[in-house]
């Protein structure tokens, strides 16, 4: 069970009827849990996304400039120090509800209520997680997908840099096209290094490289010759055993090691589909943007309504959110059992509701 807040986490109250507890205390507990859910989820989302209320915008980076040599009479020519490309984001509406009869409400215990609330929070986590992953795994091929926005018309939503005509700033190269969507036939140190190098070469990315793997791939990664495991606090290591001492935090999944040849941390994130990987850096411009509504009361995961039509009762929740590529060289995705990339089953951003 998830860690809940307030009286929903008090085991001694689990057998008590909800209606025996003052309504204000119940509503406070429900509000507290929603608030904590939004806070905790936002922390994870902040690793992948920056927030925007724009449907469409331009992602801006500097260009690769160099000083213009001169003398005491010379004057530099102004340089247009701006590279930009257009990106756009959907804004989806998703809902959850639970219901009961009037008699079931009379009988409802604190444990019953906790279970309903936990299910509601889990529904939000699963939906948001799926849409983050779908945005990360989208492959434009020759075109982005189209979001039909009820206010702004058709919006193009992009994935990672895909070898198209858009150019990106690369260290020591300047502006160039790039491709951060790939197919590998297996997981090797060389492939992980490709991912890491392709991320590090862009000045808007910074920090450490982390490559996320599904649980099924952990054994393969651990078998790489240059894999360094995380120190196990329950063990005393010998003097010749190399283990990882420091690693970044604040991201989903669990870091389980480091691939020395690639200078990349590796993390197990069960949400990554089998035979895929996601590479990111811990600092710099976030890969995705999370679009939310300009109206504050339409942001976040909220409890929005009750429906009563005796004997039936429903409690409703709502989320407005959408994800799309922003820093399109800020992440890297690959299939790890095929030379040709294809999107994971069930994670086509253009087809998911």
């Amino acid at each position: 069970m998830a860690v809940m807040m307030g009286l929903l986490n008090q085991l001694d109250l689990y057998d008590q009827r909800v209606l025996d507890i003052p309504t204000a205390e119940i509503e406070t507990a429900l509000a507290l849990n929603l608030e904590e859910h939004n806070r905790a989820l936002n922390l994870t989302l902040d690793f992948f996304c920056r927030r925007t209320t724009n449907a469409q915008e331009r992602f801006k980076t500097p260009v690769n400039a160099r000083l213009q040599g001169g003398d005491e009479n010379s004057r530099a020519d102004p340089v247009k120090g701006l590279n930009q490309y257009t990106v756009g984001y959907p804004l989806r509406i998703a809902r959850h509800a639970w219901g009961a009869t009037d008699i079931a409400l009379e009988r409802m215990t604190v444990l019953d209520l906790r279970i309903e609330v936990e299910t509601a929070l889990m529904a939000d986590i699963n939906w948001m997680s799926d849409h983050v992953l779908a945005a990360l795994f989208w492959n434009n091929t020759t075109s982005p997908w189209t979001w039909a926005d009820p206010m702004y018309g058709d919006i193009s939503v992009y994935g990672a840099a895909d070898g198209g005509t858009t150019t990106y700033l690369k260290r020591n190269v300047g502006m160039a096209t790039d491709d951060h969507v790939n197919g590998f036939t297996s997981i090797t140190t060389a492939n992980i290094k490709t991912v890491a190098d392709d991320l590090r070469e862009h000045p808007q990315n910074s920090g450490e490289v982390v490559v996320f793997f599904p649980t099924a791939s952990v054994g393969t990664v651990e078998g790489l010759t240059e894999f360094i495991p995380v120190s196990d606090p329950n063990l005393n290591y010998g003097t010749v055993t190399t283990t990882l001492r420091n690693f970044p935090a604040g991201m989903p999944g669990t870091i389980f090691g480091y691939v020395e040849g690639a200078k990349a941390y590796v993390a197990e994130w069960p949400s990554v589909p089998d035979n895929y990987l996601i590479g990111m850096m811990t600092g710099g411009a976030r890969p995705l943007a999370l679009r939310e509504d300009p109206i504050a009361s339409l942001r976040g995961y909220r409890e929005v309504a009750e429906r009563k039509d005796t004997p039936w009762y429903e409690r409703h929740y709502r989320r407005l959110a959408g994800f799309g590529g922003s820093n399109r060289v800020g992440w890297y995705v690959a299939i790890t059992n095929n030379a040709t990339y294809s999107k994971p089953t069930g994670l086509d951003a253009s087809l998911m509701i």
Partner: protein, 152 residues
């Protein structure tokens, strides 16, 4: 029997959301959860729910109108206890072999639903998907009931 739609767990069907039309009556005979039921029009058992089937002729005057479907029973009861039937709304709890959007009919077999129309074509509703499933799971099939009682 072929074409009949079975309740996944005997005695367990669920109402999904708030129904638009429902009625609660006494049961004239034992009724199981998920059974199509009709209102006994007169004489023994009048004004009570009893099991329905599509094998009879549709009349408004005689008890042989077994196909005068009212709704779907929400729970199992013996004769003499109250049971609510949903005439318009959504319910879950059957194992549907058909695809999403396909019709569900009143069966010629008493108290059963069917994938095909019975002797009297009484449409119960359609199979609709829900989207509350986690990634990788197929959408659940629930029954969207919209009974008019008029043969199609």
């Amino acid at each position: 029997m072929a074409n009949e739609i079975a309740v996944t767990t005997a005695g367990r069907v669920h109402v999904v959301g708030i129904p638009q039309v429902q009625r609660t009556l006494n049961a004239a005979e034992a009724i199981v959860a998920g059974a199509p039921v009709r209102i006994v029009p007169s004489s023994t058992g009048a004004a009570k729910f009893t099991n329905a089937n599509a094998s009879g002729t549709l009349t408004t005057e005689t008890v042989s109108g077994e196909a005068q479907l009212y709704g779907i029973a929400t729970r199992s009861v013996p004769a003499g206890q109250a049971v609510t039937a949903i005439r318009k709304g959504k319910m879950s709890g059957w194992t549907f072999e058909q695809g999403y959007g396909e019709p569900v009919w009143l069966s010629d077999t008493d108290a059963r639903l069917s994938t095909v129309a019975g002797t009297v074509n009484i449409l119960v509703g359609h199979i609709v998907p829900t989207t509350a499933n986690v990634r990788g799971d197929s959408e659940d099939k629930i029954l969207e009931i919209d009974i008019t009682g008029i043969p199609v």
